[in-house]
């Protein structure tokens, strides 16, 4: 089962996900991210996937759902630190065409700021 760490930098919520991002992690990730977005009044989200060892369509659905919510409000979403095996899944799902993917967190933060 995965775990989650959420920090705020300016108006960006930095969401670091660890472990296996599947159906068992999807519900609490979705709930925690939405709650922190409301609490902090953040505008953008950066998903740092450095710690993700597995992802399937349930995990991708969490990212896509947040992307839809944030962009509806005029915000932006980015992804950083993606391992090649995870990137392959993001590409197959077409997520990489919707959301910008950066090699590292600092590059992504510069683009979101």
């Amino acid at each position: 089962m995965g775990s989650l760490e959420i920090k705020k930098q300016g108006d960006i919520l930095i969401v670091s996900i660890y472990g296996e991002f599947d159906l068992s992690a999807a519900d609490y990730c979705r709930r925690d991210i939405d709650q922190k977005m409301r609490e902090h009044g953040a505008k953008h989200i950066l998903f740092d996937l450095d710690g993700v060892t597995f992802i399937d369509s349930s995990g991708l659905g969490v990212i896509l759902g947040r992307y839809r919510k944030v962009t509806e409000q005029g915000g932006k979403v980015a992804i950083s630190n993606v391992a090649p095996k995870i990137l392959r899944i993001l590409e197959l799902a077409g997520l990489s065409r919707l959301i910008s993917i950066y090699q590292d967190t600092s590059s992504a933060l510069r683009q979101l700021a």
Partner: protein, 146 residues
């Protein structure tokens, strides 16, 4: 083609059990020379099949029974995921990318299964359940000798 190993597992339709199904199948598959990329693909396909059974078959009820069977042959791996849930009314529609109305789901379960496995067969009947068969062939050079 002869049977090298077989594992059959029955578990409740709890999200926590998706990982159990993945690990079980990956452990069986790792007995032969599937490469790391093959193993990742198998894990994603199993994850999608079991997640579908939980989300769609049992509509997220956690007391449904899912049966997973993994059979390892000398030249391929066969995985069967069965549920006794509500079944799929329109299979053709369910197989389309982005099917489903939930904005939190990608509707890519069957797309991933088809992309990552060499064969995907689906049997479904409304009110009786769904059975998904996934097959991954071993590359010729990696086939196990009897």
């Amino acid at each position: 083609m002869s049977l090298r190993n077989k594992v059959k597992l029955e578990f409740l339709s709890r999200p926590e059990n998706v990982a159990l199904a993945r690990v079980t199948v990956a452990t069986v598959a790792a007995e032969v020379d599937f490469n790391l990329s093959d193993l990742e693909e198998i894990k994603v396909a199993v994850s999608e099949a079991v997640s579908n059974a939980i989300i769609h078959g049992y509509e997220e009820r956690t007391n449904g029974i899912i049966t997973l069977t993994a059979k390892l042959y000398t030249d391929h791996l066969e995985i069967i995921v069965e549920d006794a849930g509500k079944g799929i009314e329109d299979l053709h529609q369910a197989l389309q990318p982005g099917s489903g109305s939930d904005p939190e789901r990608m509707g890519l379960g069957f797309v991933f299964m088809k992309s990552f496995m060499d064969e995907v067969d689906i049997w479904t009947e409304v009110g009786r359940g769904t059975r998904v068969k996934l097959v991954k062939s071993l590359k010729i050079q990696n086939c196990v000798k009897n």
